[in-house]
């Protein structure tokens, strides 16, 4: 892409419709300009600016002291002596664990819910709307609500108590803190994946199932032989966005556990927020962001490679 864009752009600019043929036309540029100003300032520029900042000792409050430090912010992330090392890798491990435990239920249960909703029965839209409803809430509300439900005296423990079961300190004991955060996340966001799967299921031609039925395939066989292969592109898409969303975990631990106990639920997003915004080490925070972005980019590509085999789109 880097080598030929000029040529390609030139080809396209050759007008083929007669409407606006003569000479240079300013109009299209005026149309895209407002969006492009914001796009350039807040999506294109920060891509480079972020990498630039990561090469400096960048304290937002001390503009007069801003030495160039080369790759030291990156070296710090790999050096055991640095103050960043322990916190950074702990938050990476935490976030990795959350991705590992949250993505499978968010994808698999969503798919099962979509299959369940894909029947022709009365009230389908009603149930679909119900399942999706939590997604309409702010993360603050979702997290605070589950923080309350998981309180030592909250609904979950009252229920467990009545059943005569143990009552863990959900938000301050491991691994329960992660269980609480994962449950809150699944509750809040699974409707999104469900709706996407449902739409994709409805695109699968009925005739495929009829043919399989005639051949004697049972519903489970049909699910694996027809539904899953037909869903592959959407499946890759959903896994990717779920993975990215889980890797961006912030509000749930911020509000439910404050990263505790002992920073064991502190996500990478919280770490970057703390390093860059609360402690004003923005060069270091930018370096962390670049590292994490690189990891996520690799994961995304791998995901498409592994799950997207033979996929044209």
């Amino acid at each position: 892409m880097a080598t030929t864009p000029q040529v390609k752009a030139g080809d396209v600019a050759t007008p083929s419709t007669g409407v606006q043929r003569r000479g240079f036309n300013l109009m299209p540029y005026l149309f895209i300009l407002p969006h492009f100003i914001f796009f350039g300032t807040f999506l294109l520029w920060p891509f480079f600016y972020g990498i630039y900042i990561s090469l400096f000792d960048f304290d937002f409050l001390r503009p007069e002291y801003r030495p160039f430090v080369g790759l030291r912010n990156y070296q710090n992330l790999f050096s055991r002596e640095s103050i960043q090392f322990t916190d950074f890798w702990r938050s990476i491990r935490n976030t990795g664990a959350f991705v590992f435990w949250s993505v499978p239920p968010l994808v698999v249960i969503a798919l099962l819910l979509a299959v369940l909703l894909n029947g022709r029965f009365r009230g389908r839209n009603f149930f679909r709307a119900l399942y999706f409803a939590p997604y309409a809430l702010s993360v603050t509300v979702a997290a605070l609500l589950w923080w309350w439900i998981f309180q030592p005296s909250g609904m979950v423990n009252q229920l467990l108590g009545r059943l005569g079961l143990g009552q863990p300190q959900w938000l301050s004991e491991m691994p329960w803190a992660w269980v609480a955060i994962t449950v809150a996340t699944v509750w809040w966001t699974i409707g999104f994946n469900t709706v996407i799967f449902l739409a994709a299921l409805q695109e699968i031609p009925e005739s495929l199932y009829e043919a399989a039925s005639i051949d004697g395939a049972n519903p489970v066989q049909q699910f694996f032989a027809i539904t899953i292969p037909m869903l592959r592109p959407v499946l890759v898409f959903v896994i990717t966005i779920t993975l990215l969303a889980s890797a961006n975990l912030f509000g749930q631990p911020y509000l439910m556990t404050q990263g505790g106990p002992l920073q064991q639920t502190e996500s990478i997003m919280m770490r970057i927020y703390s390093e860059g915004i609360l402690q004003n080490r923005m060069g270091s925070a930018a370096a962390m962001s670049v590292m994490v972005a690189a990891i996520l980019l690799i994961l995304t590509v791998l995901n498409f490679r592994i799950f997207g085999r033979g996929d044209q789109s």
């Binding site: 752009a9 396209v12 600019a13 419709t17 606006q20 299209p28 149309f31 895209i32 407002p34 969006h35 492009f36 999506l43 294109l44 920060p46 891509f47 600016y49 972020g50 299959v115 369940l116 029947g119 022709r120 029965f121 119900l130 399942y131 999706f132 409803a133 309409a136 702010s138 993360v139 509300v141 609500l145 309350w148 439900i149 309180q151 609904m155 409707g191 709706v195 996407i196 739409a199 994709a200 199932y209 009829e210 399989a212 395939a217 049972n218 049909q222 959407v234 898409f237 959903v238 990215l244 961006n248 911020y254 509000l255 927020y273 860059g276 923005m282 925070a285 962001s289 972005a293 996520l296």
Partner: protein, 290 residues
């Protein structure tokens, strides 16, 4: 089973053709999941209208329902809840209107006009889709700070206008409109701007409404960015960010916290109840394109 209900045998066809027991199982499952999604929300509202003495009781129906929690958070002089409500409303409405305006004109150009560099620029837009959002946090914070926009509406709104989803969404729609309509208008002597305003936009009102709703809800619910930009200006907070500070202030005052959560939720919940069909459809569309 496969032989009995041959026509409804596809996995996803639900209870059609099934007997009563099968239907019962089916609806029980649906209801079970519905309760999982619904009950926590109900619990929020129930807690919000419980008096102090009942907070930690497990009743689903309060013995002495009260609006005291709401009154408390609204009259507390240290909590500018009304101001937060106004901030949220202003930021969400401005974000929505500006996003629609900016995205619609850009999308129309990318959909219909021929110009030098179009594919390159559109490729750039596409490329940012795969860039993890985490990269933009620190540099955008610094950009907003340098513009002197910390603690302001524009500081929250402007970065949101950079988004490319709306441009893709509307471009897709514009490409689906038959070209003849626009060509007829152009032949009649209307300029391209007039054609866009008078012919194209009215046809796109449904798509614009859909984009508007999801933009509004996303802006209303935004947390991390609003916290970053507004966090130090108590008067300028939005409801979700204010609610987070409420947690620090009220600690374990569950009734008041849930009242705050209810206030934050009600506007979007009402919007959702009335417009759920469009909202769900727009989400479904994002998946089909991916």
């Amino acid at each position: 089973m496969a032989t009995v209900t041959a026509t409804s045998d596809r996995v996803s066809s639900g209870p059609v053709g099934g007997g009563l027991p099968r239907k019962l199982v089916y609806y029980s499952l649906l209801t079970l999941f519905a309760l999982f999604f619904l009950l926590p929300l109900v619990w929020m509202f129930v807690t919000a209208i419980k008096p102090f003495a009942e907070w930690v009781t497990p009743n689903w129906i309060p013995k002495n329902p009260t609006l005291q929690n709401f009154r408390d958070i609204f009259v507390d002089p240290t909590l500018p809840v009304r101001r937060w409500f106004f901030n949220s409303l202003a930021i969400s409405i401005l974000t929505t209107v500006l996003t629609l305006a900016v995205d619609a004109v850009a999308a129309y150009a990318y959909a219909r006009m021929e110009f030098r560099g179009r594919n390159l620029l559109f490729g750039l837009l596409l490329a940012t889709l795969v860039m993890p959002g985490i990269m933009f946090l620190v540099p955008n914070f610094l950009t907003v700070a340098r513009l002197g926009w910390l603690g302001t509406y524009q500081g929250v709104i402007a970065p949101g206008l950079a988004g490319v989803f709306g441009v893709f969404f509307l471009r897709q729609f514009f490409q689906g409109i038959p070209k003849e309509l626009e060509e007829a208008a152009l032949i009649d002597g209307a300029g391209i701007w007039t054609t866009f305003l008078r012919v194209v936009l009215p046809l796109a009102s449904g798509a614009l409404a859909t984009l508007g709703i999801i933009t509004f809800m996303a802006a209303w619910n935004e947390f991390l960015w609003a916290l970053l930009i507004l966090g130090n200006e108590r008067e300028m907070l939005t409801l979700p960010v204010g609610l987070a500070t409420l947690q620090g202030q009220y600690n374990f005052d569950y009734g008041k916290l849930m009242a705050g959560a209810a206030v934050t939720t009600l506007p979007v919940l009402i919007l959702y109840i009335f417009l759920q069909r469009y909202i769900v459809q727009s989400v479904a569309m994002t998946g089909l394109k991916g």
